[in-house]
C-alpha cells in the first residue's frame, strides 16, 4: 500500500465519518426534541419538512444568522478558542473507534477505523479529558459569575469521574491485554462481551460516561435553573452552536466507546458460524455497530428525560464514595476471573 493510497483512503474515511457525525449530530438534536416530546405526551417538532425532518437545518440556519455577542469583559481570544477546542476534541476522538472488521476492496485490506492506533484507548482518555478545558475556559473567559461556576463545576466533575472511568477501563484492558480498540473488540468474540463479564465495570463506566458528557442527570455545568446555562451563558450564534454540536458529538463518542469496550463493538455473536456470504456478514456487522450506538444514543436521551439532576454534593459523593470503590471492586473481580478461568 503506497503512501498516496494510504492518505487517499484515510481522507475518504475521515470525510465519511465527519459527514456522518455531522448528520447524526443534527438529527440527534431532532430526536432529542422528539423523544422528549413523546415522553411528555407531546408531538415535538413537526412543522419544518415532513414530520419536522428539516428542523435541524432550520436550527442551524437560525443559529448562523444570530448575532455573535461577546461580553465586554470577556477574554476574547479564549472566549473564541473554547468552542473550537470543544468541537476539535469531540471529532478527533472518533479517529480510533473501529466501526467494522477489516474489509478487502480492490485488493487492499482496509481496516474500518480511521487510525488503528495501538494505544487507542489511552488516546481516547487523553482527548476526552482535554474536552473539559473547553468548558472550563469558556466559563472562565466569559467574565460572568454563572459561567465561571459552570466551568468550575465541570472541572471538579471531570476529575471525579475520570478516576472511576479509568479504573473501569482497566478491567477491560486486563481482559483484552491491549490498548488497541480493534483488539479489544476482537477480545469480546461470541458472548464474551465485557458488559456481561464485568457488569459492575459496565455500570460504572456508563455512569462515568454520562458524567463526562455533561448529560443529565449530571449536567451541573449547564444547570439552567441554577446557572442560567452555565458555561455557555455568554455564548451566542455559531459559537454556541459549536458547544451544542460538541455535546452531541461527545454523546456519540461515549456511545461508540461503550459499544467498543463493553458491547462487543461491531461483533454479532456467532454470525460467522452461520455460513452467510462474507460480504453480508461484514455488512451486518457494520450495521450492528451502528444499531448498538443508536440504542445507546436513545438511552442517553431517554435517561435525560426521565431522571432529575443531582445536587452538587450528591454528585461528588456518588463519584468518590460509590463509583470509585465500585470500579476498584470491578478490577479485583476481573483479576479473579482471569486467575480462576485462565482467560
Amino acid at each position: 500500500m503506497s503512501l498516496l493510497q494510504l492518505i487517499g483512503i484515510t481522507a475518504v474515511k475521515i470525510l465519511i465519518i465527519f459527514t456522518m457525525m455531522m448528520l447524526t449530530v443534527s438529527y440527534l438534536v431532532y430526536f432529542e426534541r422528539k423523544i422528549s416530546a413523546w415522553a411528555q405526551n407531546r408531538l415535538g417538532p413537526n412543522r419544518v419538512g415532513w414530520y419536522g425532518l428539516l428542523q435541524p437545518f432550520a436550527d442551524v440556519f437560525k443559529l448562523a444568522l444570530k448575532e455573535d455577542i461577546v461580553p465586554t469583559n470577556a477574554n476574547k481570544p479564549i472566549h473564541t478558542l473554547a468552542p473550537v477546542i470543544a468541537l476539535f476534541v469531540a471529532f478527533t476522538t472518533y479517529a480510533v473507534i473501529p466501526f467494522g472488521p477489516d474489509i478487502s476492496l480492490f485488493g487492499i485490506t482496509i481496516p474500518l477505523v480511521v487510525a488503528d492506533v495501538n494505544i487507542g484507548i489511552l488516546y481516547v482518555l487523553a482527548l476526552s479529558s482535554l474536552g473539559v478545558y473547553a468548558i472550563t475556559l469558556a466559563g472562565w473567559s466569559s467574565g460572568s459569575k454563572y459561567s465561571l461556576l459552570g466551568g468550575i463545576r465541570s472541572s471538579a466533575q471531570m476529575i471525579s469521574y475520570e478516576v472511576s472511568m479509568g479504573f473501569s477501563v482497566a478491567g477491560v484492558l486486563l481482559f483484552a491485554g491491549s490498548l488497541r480498540p480493534a483488539a479489544i473488540v476482537l477480545s469480546q468474540h461470541g458472548w464474551m462481551w465485557n458488559a456481561l463479564l464485568q457488569p459492575i465495570g459496565f455500570i460504572t463506566f456508563v455512569v462515568s460516561a454520562f458524567a463526562e458528557t455533561n448529560r443529565l442527570p449530571f449536567d451541573l455545568p449547564e444547570a439552567e435553573p441554577e446557572l442560567v446555562g452555565g458555561f455557555h451563558t455568554e455564548y451566542s450564534s455559531m459559537k454556541f452552536a459549536g458547544f451544542f454540536l460538541a455535546e452531541y458529538a461527545n454523546m456519540i463518542i461515549a456511545s461508540a466507546l461503550i459499544v467498543t469496550l463493553y458491547l462487543g463493538g461491531w461483533q454479532v455473536p456467532y454470525i460467522e458460524s452461520i455460513g452467510l456470504p462474507a460480504g453480508l456478514v461484514i455488512a451486518i456487522q457494520i450495521i450492528s455497530f451502528f444499531a448498538k450506538i443508536a440504542f445507546l444514543l436513545f438511552f442517553f436521551i431517554w435517561v435525560r428525560w426521565s431522571i432529575p439532576r443531582f445536587r452538587y454534593d450528591q454528585l461528588m459523593s456518588l463519584g468518590w464514595k460509590v463509583m470509585f470503590p465500585l470500579s476498584l471492586i470491578n478490577i479485583v473481580w476481573v483479576a479473579g476471573l482471569i486467575m480462576i478461568f485462565r482467560l
Binding site: 423523544i35 416530546a37 413523546w38 415522553a39 411528555q40 405526551n41 407531546r42 408531538l43 413537526n46 455500570i203 431517554w302 435517561v303 428525560w305 426521565s306 431522571i307
Partner: protein, 164 residues
C-alpha cells in the same frame, strides 16, 4: 441534639438506586407510546368551555342594539382601567346608552370583574383568545369590535346564571 430524621427513610432497594432508575425509565418509555395531548393550533382550534374568560364583549340584542346602559360600573371596577364608557341619551326605553365604549385590550387582564358587576348582563367574557395587535391604537376595541350577537355568547350567559 438529635439528628433531624426524614419523614420517609429510603429502603435498601431505593438506596441502591438502580431499581428506581429502571422504574423511572419504564414510566417515560410507557408514556412515549401513549396518545398525545398536543392540539395543532392554527389548523385545529381549542374551543374553550363556557367557564373560559376570553376577551370581554358587549351583548347585542336581536334588534341589533346593545344591552348596555352605560352605567360605568365595569369601568369603575376594572382593576387596570381598561374600560372607558361615554354615556348619552337615547329615545329608547332604557334612556341611556353608550355612545362610546372602549376596551383597551393592552390594559385588560381578563379578570371578568366587568361581567361580574354588570347589572344588565350586557358585558360578558367571550371565548375569543386570539388577540394580536401591531399598534396601541389597534388594541383599543370600540363598539364595532365589541358588539357580539347574543347567540354567540348564550352559553356564557347560561353559565353565569348558574354559577354567579
Amino acid at each position: 441534639m438529635s439528628l433531624r430524621r426524614r419523614k420517609k427513610d429510603l429502603t435498601f432497594w431505593e438506596k441502591i438506586y438502580i431499581p428506581e432508575i429502571v422504574k423511572g425509565l419504564a414510566l417515560t418509555l410507557k408514556t412515549m407510546f401513549k396518545p398525545k395531548y398536543t392540539v395543532e393550533y392554527p389548523e385545529v382550534k381549542f374551543i374553550p368551555p363556557a367557564s373560559y374568560r376570553g376577551r370581554p364583549v358587549l351583548v347585542m340584542e336581536e334588534n341589533g342594539k346593545e344591552r348596555c346602559v352605560a352605567c360605568g360600573l365595569c369601568s369603575r371596577v376594572c382593576p387596570p382601567l381598561a374600560i372607558f364608557v361615554q354615556a348619552a341619551e337615547t329615545p329608547d326605553e332604557k334612556e341611556r346608552y353608550p355612545v362610546k365604549f372602549e376596551i383597551n385590550m393592552i390594559r385588560c387582564i381578563f379578570c371578568g370583574f366587568c361581567e361580574d358587576v354588570c347589572p344588565e348582563e350586557a358585558i360578558v367574557m367571550s371565548k375569543d383568545y386570539e388577540l394580536a395587535f401591531s399598534s396601541r391604537e389597534e388594541a383599543i376595541y370600540g363598539k364595532d369590535k365589541l358588539l357580539t350577537p347574543i347567540k354567540q355568547v348564550q352559553d356564557r350567559i347560561n353559565f353565569l346564571r348558574q354559577y354567579k
